[in-house]
């Protein structure tokens, strides 16, 4: 397939993080992947041995793909061979996201995020609602 040329005079990106891509120029395949185990704790406690991805199905199960039921024959007419942008400003690109200037054939991104919140109660202490006897 014949692709158009992308013309960007200036681009500004502030933050680029966590398996994300900023690409200038053409590419064939972009396949970023990110597994995130996000823990929010009531106090600043960090254990360096936690977060085994294999213990959660979320990081193991295959993602269902749409099934192609009909064969579509596409044809493109590019009346103008350029995509022009004067200025692009992006604050952040994160977690297997892509900012791409140029043409590509395939982009396949995958992000899996598991959130957990942990509130501190010393062992033996009851929840205030439980102590009041109300539902």
């Amino acid at each position: 397939m014949y692709n158009r040329n992308s013309i960007v005079d200036a681009a500004y990106v502030n933050i680029l993080g966590f398996s994300s891509i900023f690409n200038i120029g053409d590419s064939r395949e972009i396949l970023p992947k990110a597994n995130v185990f996000a823990v929010q704790r009531e106090a600043e406690v960090f254990y360096d041995n936690e977060g085994d991805f294999s213990k959660y199905d979320l990081f193991q199960l295959p993602i269902p793909r749409p099934i192609k039921s009909e064969n579509v024959v596409t044809s493109y007419i590019h009346e103008k061979p350029f995509i022009r942008t004067k200025f692009v400003k992006i604050i952040a690109v994160s977690t297997s996201a892509v900012f791409h200037i140029g043409s590509t054939d395939l982009i396949d991104m995958e992000a899996r995020v598991k959130h957990t919140r942990q509130l501190f109660r010393p062992s033996g202490a009851l929840d205030p609602e439980e102590q009041s006897g109300e539902d």
Binding site: R4, E79, I91, A97, V98, G102, T104, M109, R121
Partner: protein
């Protein structure tokens, strides 16, 4: 099925984006195939109240 795309002139002056996040794409150009999947899990049991313990230790 036959499908025809006619691309006319594109001329953007200024584009401001706050964030591109969690398997999303901002593309200035042409692409044939895009697959974007995001799995996000916050079940009720993700709220843990008790003494701090390491979660899923290795």
């Amino acid at each position: 099925m036959n499908f025809t795309v006619i691309n006319k002139d594109i001329n953007v002056v200024f584009c401001r984006v706050t964030a591109v996040a969690t398997s999303s794409v901002f593309l200035i150009g042409d692409v044939n195939n895009v697959g974007a999947s995001a799995v996000f899990d916050t079940p009720p049991e993700s709220l843990i109240i008790g003494p701090f313990v390491p979660l899923a230790p290795q």
